[in-house]
Subunit: 488 residues, 4 copies
């Protein structure tokens, strides 16, 4: 397992293929430091003995100790630990921990590549190729990201029907030694600082869409890949630093006729498995959300409680009711993930057929519980920000700049007139309102809300998953009996 | 274990002390039959081999096989089974199964009586008395109900401050052989058909309220008890019977200076334990709700799906979205109960001190998860009825009476003009709308909504439990660190 | 103008064509008395000098004073008065006043018949026929109801596509002296006690649906009409009568090959005007809702306030917040209707073309404001019932029957143990809980909720009206300018 | 009436007393330009003949034509025009027009100063002083802002009970020629670019709080005033400018022992009138919200419609339902303001006493309708942002920077891969997503949400106003009659 510094040294050596504001930059650019701070926590904490149980695992491929973010879940306990690891790390980072896309993608590809080979009756070796790739990924302790979302073009048309056929990433050529792909994956979180980009389809695919049923992995600076980058960092602090300077970044990952050697290809043309892969990544990722969203709830609760302290309204009934609302969503989401883990099996729900064995034996969390939990938290994002705004009042929106707390002309007046509670130091009150400004009155805050709403699939996607995978007929039968209806 | 008929024979022998509409009646009155039908299912199904694992348990007192509704939960598995038993039975009964108040009360009294004795350092024998009572309860397979809710009078005043001191049930005299109690417990479900009434306090109690800290159990027809009864049955069917004729009933249980012998007294004067007993019954009962409310969700989903089938709108997106909404609440509530069971311990959360051992070793489900689940479903009651109304349209409200489907003048016209879908027989469509009329356009339906909102404590009570038992300070600390605030 | 008794005498003379529970009955049946009580208020109050301004109008046809429920709105002031009249009467009746369907239908038919004749260039005399009919209706002070809603069959198919072509009422034969119609109108409120039934189409119609574009008026007992009746009355009171015994009724009005003479036909085959007539009745009726729904809000507020008084929680912040919620919906709905009246014009909004003159000059309220108001109140129905349940607690669901308050065995205990507030007499507290039981724990209550949700079109229908009649393009243009987008 | 340039020339001459980021600046600072752009529209458009009717008025003091933002409303028509003027200007500015605080404050002070003098029986000349001040304000076409919100300190304590008595602005000395005030008004929008600051109390005041009952007006750069400034501007655009570059700013306006001459003092010590003044400014300002919030709704609707166009989902039912939701809130808010205007009177609602004449005859909009409208829109702020996020998807959060659309390495790829709809040019699609990024993923966007929630008083304040000014007793009486309760 690597240290944070070793990982940083690795990405510093990558070719500059990041575009930001008209410039081409490499991974040493300072705008990436906050993102690196966050990802770095997954190395730092995994090295601490008190976190070993939660943050590391034993590879089922090599028997070696690895970072849990590189692990294929083998047991129900693994699923529980992944949820708890995610919650703990996000609490420490003050938000998304950013390494889960990698572990969720590798679990999904690991599962589906096995089934695709089985379907192809030995004509392909996707799964073996993936296991080779995975061994190196585990032993070198690499950071992965998942490139799933396509441009999508006209939302009412399928991939093969689009005016521009590149609106979804596709195979444009098959060669003896590999394939050539073209397209662009959008909103790809942390692609700019990942060692490897894992690519999966983004939706169900028909036969006409076989060119779009492709999965592979490539280093983030591979030939032909260009990343159009946006970074989401807090405002710079000049005098009063935050406790932890977190950030994140997203890329439009452009594949401009990129060559992928066969040993890095894990699916190519199997449209049905392509669709399942899209769903399965989403499923593993929604399970991750059962860890991170409760952490976001924890942080939102703590923030609201401190804001209420400042305003001395912590015991008002309409305020504790809001606390209860946040806790309710937080712990229901946690319980949903917990139950999804506890009911995990190496099986997949097939509408009409029920659960059936799927994959080489690794654990898949229960789909319904992953989806109801993620749906609930997705629907709560804006409402929780509203709760914060209600408790905070206007303070975060008009709080004077740092300079006014330093300039001798204004310093004392500034502290005097931002003081509300006599039980918290003016300095701490100021830090709190600055922090709330950072999360509520900022581009980063807006970006987080969009991420929390859409990341891993919006509530509308979970609702489709829920209704297509639930045994509604069994409920019809219950009612038929009670109502005294005959069978038809 | 008894048969349904043996139980019925037992209550038929009880003294008539039920008052309904100005009459005094006994338990043979036909208005009680629908309630008896429901309770009877807990006997009938427990006797079926396929349900033995779920519906029976092994008494930790006697080692004998008993109905699970008489059992003190010994393991996490017991908690899981109690949740699943409740869901299954409610699905079959088309609603509340009515026997859980007894099991929840006995688990609570079992736990608290032990602690009260410990606090009294041997001066009392509440727990031994209760165990004796329980042995008979288990071996005779009795039906218990729980008399908790008091009249409460002025809601802003404590028991001892009320204009009428009998607004909460209290001890008016202590004698050598027992105590005399006065007061009235209201909304007591199934007291009219229960063998035994278990009495617990209804709220936290101060020192001035010691007379109100009392718990005991008495047969439902004990001297001095009068029950003012309401029944909640479906409309009579003349020609087209329902598949299962369910009902329920509630009593104002009046204790008009009732003598209780000491061996039936399980708490008397210990105000702190009285408050805990109130909370603990609520906790066990909210755990029961994690079984029954998902069943209500199952039934609501089935009903909505059939109504949508009738109207041929089952595949419309705004309809499947409503299905997803019901499933979401249902399975989040189930997951909350599942997690509460899995995290069950013989411990109680004491605000400020955290979890500490409590009781003689029996299992207590996790309070936060019990409460968030119950809160969610309580808040969903009216909205789910709205969903049904939206999908059903006006049909249930103006559906012609049974007679019009029999009278030769109107029969053919009636069937012709209530037919919507060509894929369901007119007879079944009619039965469905009648059933929906029964649950949505009826006194019983209104009563069920009030029960589902307030039973086991309204959402407002769960919110108090949630915020008083959650470690909000830990969340404050997370945010302090991230915001860069110093300790104070 | 007639007295209530004159009206009753009139309907008592009608032929018995009402079917209820297998019987054929006439209008003297006691189950109709509560409905008659309500409708009677429109006669009684119109005769009182203090209400003359609001409840009567001057006929534009005859110049005579008529009941406002028989009037074609000539001015903006007429629209305002119709809203205020409706609110006042519903406040007095404790709910729907039941005569608005008639006035809304006659305003719609009056308008559309004029345009249809214009479109037919003199080939038809619908409007003159209607004016003749209307003169009699006004001078004889008749009660009208509107038969709009059809069976609809498969909800995804148009009238002419239905498996059973009678799923929508249609013309089956045209004769020299009239037409023959077949079909059934469902959920027709007060058809059983109306003098005249006004028939309108229920939806937009294509050319293939011309047989369904028909409007006419017939007496409620006309040859060939059978009514399958349901009544919605409160539970009988034996000892403690309500202050006002209201009821309502609905009919399946079956037209079993009914002959309609031409002078009673106001539209026959003009499919486009048929669709407009459907919309226009809905529009006038949604305007009526801007009167009745605020009254329902007034009554709900009063009920909640009294229940809170009983429980002595009237000043608790979470209770006053609920009051504010009810007032907010109530007065927004009133304001919407007020604005719709104030902006009323003899014009209709035609999507794509905007407002254009329509009808012979009578006033049409503004569609957007009618629709947003009705939509809001429709969406609030179940939530307001939830508010009542939250404030009332379980009392209404398990309140002892009247008899227990009379039987000497229980009377004193009953009054003692239902008493909460010391500031309201036990007798009044009992009457209040009985009343809440009547509106919340009853078939009538459930029926009212369905009526308030679906009557005049469910929120889903208002949303279609809103988005199809709003100038969204103008809003696009505003944003294009601000965003710096060019025209395309 | 002045031109925009004349106004700018005026503020450019003011003394530099603005502090921003540690610097002291004057009004020429470029960070103020976007705010000036917005305010400038109120000059530019008032000068256009086509807007004369809406944007100008005739002074009741001088008979001269003045900007409507300087006018005291004399008629119902004035109130209607103020609402419509506000909506129109906000539509053009793409948000808050920023000059309403001035007009709302001057209407409130005009009214209350008259009543205070009356109460003082001639001992004061507040009203005459104010009229003198107002004449100059009108004839010089000045821009006013309103300094109302105080620091408030401990939210559970009244002004005179605060640990720091300066937590609310107060009179620290009375002299023969004027008074000395100390304190700080926070969140004061546009104070930095206003000619005059109008000061009013922020809440109801007890007798002990008389020092806090003070109202006056001062130029923005008056001796002893320091403004701690924050600006809310869009991100700079380098290549693709917006159509209109709007901004706003807020000040902590510090009154550091500031002398106010008597002729500029309009209230000093009348605690009851101080409380009314606080409420009355809020009332006039909530009436302004009935103009601006509908405009925000118009803009949100246009934005959502264009985003839906881009994604080609404009006709999807779940999308049009969202449009309907926005329109519903928008037009209900407009209708509430319209009704408040139409029912305007020179009267004030006094709880317990009802409406009674107040002020010298100027028009006051109806309080209930102002409050229900503002409450509705305040509660909709976050939900409408959620709607936008749902329709937009992730695009605004990760949209590549302008530079990538210029850099030849990436330009074509960028345009290719942001293209969704074939019916809108890629350039326009890019401008749209940048605009949505500006309003949703930005500090300015967050600030606007806080402003829209809290400005003019949060929903919690409107609810207090609603319940304290509504005749709930009249509703109790309606229900008492219907329920058959006797009077007590």
């Amino acid at each position: 397992m690597r240290t944070k510094q070793q990982w940083i040294d690795g990405i510093h050596k990558m070719k500059p293929n990041l575009y930001i504001g008209g410039e081409k930059i490499d991974r040493k650019d300072e705008r990436l430091i906050p993102s690196i701070n966050v990802m770095g926590k997954t190395f730092d904490l995994a090295a601490m003995p008190e976190h070993e149980d939660l943050l590391t695992a034993t590879s089922h491929l090599t028997g070696e100790k690895i970072n849990r973010f590189c692990h294929v879940h083998q047991t129900v306990e693994d699923l529980h630990k992944k949820q708890d690891m995610t919650r703990m790390l996000c609490q420490q980072a003050g938000g998304c921990i950013q390494r889960c896309m990698g572990v969720d993608a590798l679990n999904a590809i690991y599962t589906v590549s096995h089934e695709a080979d089985k379907g192809n009756k030995g004509a392909t070796e996707y799964h073996e190729n993936f296991k080779k790739w995975l061994k190196r990924f585990q032993s070198e302790d690499l950071v992965g990201c998942c490139a799933q979302t396509d441009v999508k073009g006209d939302r009412l048309k399928r991939p093969s029907q689009q005016p521009d056929p590149d609106s979804y990433l596709r195979v444009v050529e098959k060669k003896s030694d590999g394939i050539v792909v073209r397209g662009c994956k959008v909103h790809i979180s942390e692609a700019a600082i990942a060692d490897e980009i894992l690519v999966t389809p983004t939706r169900a695919l028909m036969e006409a869409d076989t060119d779009y049923a492709v999965s592979f992995a490539l280093p983030g600076d591979w030939d032909g890949i260009k990343q159009l980058l946006t970074t989401h960092n807090y405002r710079d602090r000049q005098y009063f630093p935050k406790g932890f300077n977190a950030g994140s970044c997203d890329s439009y990952v452009v594949f401009d006729d990129v060559f992928v050697p066969w040993e890095r290809v894990f699916l190519c043309g199997e449209n049905q498995h392509g669709g399942i892969l899209a769903l399965l990544f989403a499923l593993f990722h929604r399970h991750s959300y059962s860890g991170c969203k409760p952490a976001l709830g924890d942080l939102m609760l703590g923030t609201c409680a401190l804001a209420a302290d400042c305003n001395n309204i912590t015991k008002a009934k309409h305020v504790t009711d809001k606390f209860a609302e946040i806790i309710k969503v937080t712990e229901l989401a946690y319980a949903a993930g917990f139950t999804a883990s506890a009911m995990g099996k190496p099986e997949l729900y097939i509408p009409g057929a029920g659960f059936r064995p799927y994959g080489p034996g690794n654990m898949i969390p229960h789909s319904i519980y992953c989806n109801v939990g993620r749906c609930l938290t997705g629907e709560s994002v804006f409402h929780e920000q509203e709760i914060l705004a209600e408790i905070a009042g206007g303070m975060p929106a008009t709080f004077p700049y740092e300079g006014e707390f330093v300039n001798p002309d204004t310093r004392d007046l500034a502290y005097k007139y931002i003081t509300r509670s006599p039980h918290m130091s003016p300095e701490n009150q100021a830090q709190l309102w600055r922090h709330i400004g950072d999360i509520a009155i900022s581009a980063k805050g807006g970006c987080s809300m969009y991420g929390a709403l859409h990341g891993g699939g919006s509530p509308v996607m979970e609702k489709i998953a829920i209704t297509s995978q639930y045994d509604i007929d069994a409920r019809r039968d219950m009612v038929r009996k009670i109502a005294g209806m005959t069978e038809e």
